[in-house]
Subunit: 390 residues, 2 copies
């Protein structure tokens, strides 16, 4: 997820919001995970925007991507410089209109933004989990979110919205709890990671694990594997952009110099950008969470996890109305992968709208201002909301 | 450059060859480099195949890519398992026919396969250069090759052939010493690195420099930055393939297991492949050479180095006949970059043939068996050779 977005504070915003914590435990006090192990108690950090209507039919659940958090819109305080990560989409009168819908966003299981993850304290040892944290799946993340939704008293979700790894959660929800979901908007996502996407994630993980400070995940009381995590992030940033977007944004322009350095400094703007993104990221993200979330995403495979053997069979479980959106220059989750989903949905007679948006900005396009995307989301939500009232 | 090629020893081969060394010094004993510094004496490792004809008109100079060497074909000994890196193209009766042509390939300046590079002994200190080695350019590599060609008594080169970074050298030769070149075959290459290509190289360099064993380049008497170099190589390998080739070659197949490990082992074949490629590479390649050669490639820009400001002006210097070849799935040096060159060549009235070959194998395609490519190269060489006799 890019942080290269300019924000305009003059627009409408949900304003100041609070991060809340929900801690739950299933009997006998733990959450049973897909790998067979248990984990508990589990805390999810979440935020809500707008009001739940009396018949509890206007809930929109937003799922964040790899490095996101529950702070999807608004500001934690009046002097916070930067709003939540999807401020352009979520707020009064926006694509996901907080005057109409009750919006919920929770930080995913395995992350490091308030929810339980490898950096959390393991109650059994009193120390951070590190690699003792179980390898969670996208399904486990969804199971945890379900507990939060129950806690909020929501029986049916009007819409699930998420891009990238958030989109994986959207799809998982639709197959895991089909009768809870009225509609779903998977953006720039895929029914399963390609070998290319796994390859990028694996190299990023190797960069982290190659850092001697990683120390097999046990670094919470010492130096952190910042250099490895920065390289991992830089790899990620390349995959979020595209050849064309990088050409527009950077080309071969030099950074603060008129000629080459003839050493190994950053000569080009693109080098400088990547170094900056890498160094910023280590201030806010935990290397182990990067490992766990990318692994969960690599494991995700709709043709596998419901003993389905095929996408068509997988979507035979689904009952939601879908709006599927892909972006022309996204080479991390290319359009052909969205099309395969759409085809499988249609074969099951599902109500599906599909749009490939022309955009030069690669995978990141779903996070950038795009009137087409905003209009699509807004129109789709209005339609499905109206249809619930009939 | 992939090492994933199966070789058939039963085919025709140049057989056993020797690596030779040529050491030269320009007065006053040093080579003047583009960055203004001097370097010397300079040694180039090289190999020759076939015989130079009496009028010295049949010399073909092959330029290798990032991690290649002078060993383009044949075997160093009768029991060597693997032949040179372009055995499928170079040999008796092959695309570059050693029965007809005198083939020369030299290891590039800055490399670590016998030619002078950052791992060589600095005569001024008696220690390995490390980062005291000057940042050489593609132009410097070509200047050094030119000294070798002079030494071999060759006044005109029938053809220059090279793919990827080898192709950069081909292009540089054509503009630097235009009247020495009869023809040139730049394969899967570019007139300048895009921001995307620079980005990949930069992240790979950062992976090396993040390894504490790198020690600012001074590691020749201690532990080497193997983990960083392995990550750099893995990044490279992703760029040499393509989404489609990875899907064919690996898909989501698991490596020696029927279910996920639920830990951070290599679950997928593609992970295993990348780890293997990374670990093999560190046995044979020097991390500093990786830094220097990628930097030289990133600096390369035909629109810049001849004060040209445009490709059209740059190619106004060229006199060679060209065969330009790109590959459909190459996203490191995509076809549009070759087409830009071809357009500029044509605007200068040059004799140009261009072919985009349909291939699923990404950038690596130029190294893989491909009858179309072999036929194109063979036919082009025959034509230009015949034309020299008229």
């Amino acid at each position: 997820m890019s942080e290269y977005i300019e924000h305009d504070k003059t627009g409408l915003s949900v304003g100041v919001v609070d991060k809340k914590l929900f801690t739950f435990a299933q009997p006998p006090g733990e959450l049973t995970l897909e790998n067979g192990s248990t984990l508990g108690p589990v805390t999810l950090a979440y935020e809500t925007y707008g009001e739940l209507n009396p018949d509890r039919s206007n809930a929109v659940l937003i799922m964040h991507a790899l490095s996101g958090d529950s702070h999807v819109a608004g500001y934690y305080s009046n002097d916070e410089a930067k709003p939540g990560w999807w401020e352009i989409m979520v707020g009064p009168g926006k694509g996901i209109d907080t005057n109409k819908y009750f919006v919920v966003c929770s930080n995913i299981l395995g992350s490091c933004m308030g929810s339980t993850g490898p950096g959390s304290i393991n109650p059994k040892t009193g120390k951070a989990f590190g690699l003792d944290f179980p390898v969670v799946t996208i399904g486990d993340m969804v199971t945890a979110q379900k507990a939060l939704i129950n806690h909020l008293g929501i029986k049916r979700i009007l819409s699930l919205v998420g891009g990238s790894i958030g989109g994986l959660q959207v799809l998982e929800w639709c197959l895991r709890y089909p009768d809870m979901i009225v509609s779903a908007i998977p953006l720039a996502t895929t029914p399963k990671h390609s070998a290319l996407t796994i390859a990028f994630n694996e190299v990023a993980r190797q960069a982290i694990m190659a850092d001697p400070n990683w120390h097999k995940g046990d670094y919470y009381n010492g130096a952190k594997p910042d250099l490895g995590l920065a390289v991992a992030r830089m790899i990620g940033h390349i995959t979020y952009l595209s050849d064309e977007s990088m050409r527009h944004k950077f080309g071969r322009r030099l950074q603060d110099r008129s000629d080459f350095s003839f050493n190994f400094d950053a000569d080009f703007q693109v080098e400088s950008y990547l170094r900056y993104q890498g160094s910023k990221f280590v201030e806010r993200f935990d290397a182990n969470s990067f490992l766990y979330i990318t692994k969960a995403a690599d494991y995700f495979d709709l043709t596998r996890q419901y003993d389905s053997g095929s996408l068509v069979k997988a979507f035979s479980r689904a009952m939601a109305k879908f709006l599927v959106v892909s972006f022309t220059s996204d080479w991390l989750y290319p359009t052909y992968q969205s099309k395969a989903m759409v085809k499988a949905m249609k074969k099951n007679g599902l109500d599906v709208s599909f749009c490939e948006i022309e955009a030069d900005w690669g995978h990141d396009a779903f996070l950038l201002p795009n009137k087409r995307l905003t209009d699509l989301v807004k129109g789709f939500l209005e339609r499905v909301y109206d249809e619930t009232k009939r």
